[in-house]
Amino acid sequence: MAENTYLIRGAAILGGEAEDLLIRDGMIEARGKDLAAEGATVIDAAGLVALPGMVDVHTHLREPGREDAETVETGTRAAALGGFTAVHAMANSNPVADTAGVVEQVHSLGRASGWVDVRPVGAVTVGLAGEQLAELGAMADSRAQVRMFSDDGICVHDPVIMRRALEYVKAFDGVVAQHAQEPRLTAGAQMNEGTVSAVLGLTGWPAVAEESIIARDVLLTQHVGSRLHVCHVSTAGSVEIVRWAKARGINVTAEVTPHHLLLTDELVRSYDPVYKVNPPLRTDADVQALREGLADGTIDVVGTDHAPHPSEHKECEWAQAAMGMTGLETALSVVQETMIETGLMSWADFARVTSFTPAVIGRVADQGRPLEVGEPANVILVDPAARWTVDPHKMATMGRNSPFKGKELPGSVVATFFKGHPTVLDGKLNTPYRYPAVSSN
């Protein structure tokens, strides 16, 4: 069926040599030079880079509960446009994704939308309250097949609860994704504590509040022999601690957001809440350490922490504003700007930190696979020579809170293939993938 057959002509595979990719019925059927078109739809990819579809380990889709901020439909449209073929939907919805029922709802919404794989993250504790473990096993066994658990937005600060969670998820190969923030050290915190906060008179969020939790958690992880993922690492000290833990053989992975790779707390001097985020923007020394950590593998993955908010939550005083930034549609460009244009990473490294490793951490089958014959066709085409100016009003996400507004960034997503279907063509949304009718959904 020609409808399901695409021939990508002459794309630089992972930034390497230009080759053709033949996609048929959701799979990569052939790879090589001068493949025959065989009635396939031909896509001229000269000058483009072919990469595995990006996998976000950290996305806030807001549904259920805050459909005024984002829905699964709008969030996954944004994801597809940003080059993603899978996202992990964080658990801080309303109701919280702390039961099999809620994670199955989010999973079903994702399949109905059909833009990317939506992998629900389950809450670690009931209602994110940090007191009692949620039914992690029920969520793992549900149709959503949850493997990543997180109270993201709130730290699992009680060391006993954290220990139990780490132990318990071993039963089903789960991972606890920790939002590392010591709550007592960050009461009322508004921004990074340092030179800028001193001048602005905003309550500081000290680096030690992140680092002390990471230090505790890697030791707990070692003690109980489990698997830990550290969300949005933001400080140079955190990079050092993760590096130390990995050297000791502790099974820890770490994530960095695009905004922490590019922006610093100097931006807060404007008091514009678009720069308010948790963990906060840090210093230039932290930015450099995060880039080095990502380049040398200390930090395993890029996670967007895409956090859309309705405009009224940002059009106010700094202290009143919600924390968070959108990121799905700018992630690729920001990582290109900060890691590739700087010579710190290649496109093959990019594929590792945005696709291969995130899929392994989230245990997402069929994602983050090499672009080889017989593999699922989750593929994106990127124009690395493109330059564009960020305009939040032109984005698919409902959130207008992009800190990159007005910035010129390199790289654009030309096409996204999800399960062999082009969800994005010519840089625009095409049509969603439709699951076969026999599906249980």
């Binding site: 508004q190 008179g201 500081g204 008091y271 005083e317 009143q320």
Partner: protein, 335 residues
């Protein structure tokens, strides 16, 4: 100057212009009829999201002496969940035709938001925002210091700065907008500043400020100072372990009777004692010190009106916002 948001970005030229204008305004206050027609027909809104009777009446007196119409808007308790947002409040004031908004807000940066957004086009004066800045307080403090310093040196105060003056500021620097505004302005005017506080009440990053930092008030006094400014300390801070008890605070960092005597013993006959008010007598300052001839507390209040008159005058009828251009602007709008 379109707005007065902070002293951090206030140039020496603008600062001295405000102080010199305040000298002229002060002369008006000595007259039998304490009123100028300068801002007749202009509307000044005092927008207070936090109680501060002293600051509000000072601005109110300043605006009225310049013949402006004054509207007091107490928006206390306003928040996103309850009541009106800052944006709606600002747009309401804009619709009413406010020419200047004097804003006091518990949130650091709220005046910057008003000035940076298109919610309102009025001149914005920061009357104290959170723990950020209180620029008119620093200007009135500098005005008070400059008069004193000129008298001591036998020079003319108009046009002068504070070069060579040694100023110590003691108290809760961490939570003080007065301290921040004073540090920047005094540096700009050439004074040497020493902050004295318990380490818990100094912000991380204070080492980058253009001043010295000391934990020892007595050593600072012995080193010699020309002005001693005490900051208000909230007794409740001890509940958050910023210091063990009010008594211990008072012993180590309070300006008590013994330290008042020390000024005499050390031969510092011209050293003044300042306080932005309201004072916690017996905590950061003893009654004897507050009421001594060295105290400038009431002069500061008096000078506050002059300095705020100067700020309102310069923002509303100075340079770019001259009366003529405003008239032509409003006639355009009627077309």
């Amino acid at each position: 100057m379109k707005h007065l948001l902070s002293t951090e970005n206030l140039s020496a030229f603008d600062a001295i212009r405000v102080l010199d204008t305040a000298e002229e305004m002060s002369a008006v206050g000595e007259r039998e009829v304490k009123k100028l027609p300068a801002l007749r027909g202009r509307t000044v809104v005092n927008l207070f999201f936090e109680d501060s009777t002293r600051t509000r009446i000072s601005f109110e007196a300043a605006a009225k002496r310049l013949s402006a119409d004054v509207i007091n808007f107490a928006a206390k308790g306003s928040s996103v969940s309850k009541g009106e947002s800052l944006k709606d409040t600002a747009q309401t004031l804009a619709a009413m035709g406010a020419d200047a908004v004097v804003i006091r807000h518990w949130a650091s940066g709220a005046p910057h938001r008003l000035a940076a957004t298109d919610w309102i086009d009025a001149a914005v004066i920061n009357a104290g925002d959170g723990t950020h800045e209180h620029p008119t307080q620093a200007l009135l403090d500098a005005f008070t210091m400059r008069r004193h310093w000129s008298r001591v040196n036998g020079t003319e105060s108009t046009g002068a700065d504070l070069r060579g003056m040694r100023v110590a500021i003691a108290g809760d620097v961490l939570h003080s907008r007065v301290a921040r505004s004073n540090v920047w302005l005094l540096k700009t005017l050439g004074a040497e500043v020493t902050l004295v506080a318990p380490p818990t009440l100094l912000p991380i990053g204070v080492e980058h400020w253009p001043c010295k930092v000391s934990y020892d008030l007595d050593q600072t006094l012995e080193a010699g100072i020309d002005a001693m400014m005490m900051l208000r300390v909230q007794g409740e801070r001890m509940n958050a372990s910023f210091f063990p008890s009010t008594r211990e605070y008072s012993r180590r960092w309070g300006f008590d009777d013994a330290r008042l005597r020390a000024l005499d013993d050390l031969g510092m006959k011209d050293t003044i004692i300042m306080h932005p008010g309201p004072m916690n007598r017996g905590l950061e300052i003893s009654s004897a010190a507050a009421d001594s001839p060295r105290s400038t507390v009431l002069a500061q209040v008096r000078n506050g009106v002059s300095v705020r008159m100067a700020a309102l005058y310069l923002l509303l009828s100075g340079d770019s916002r001259g009366a003529a251009s405003n008239v032509s602007q409003s006639s355009k709008e009627t077309n």
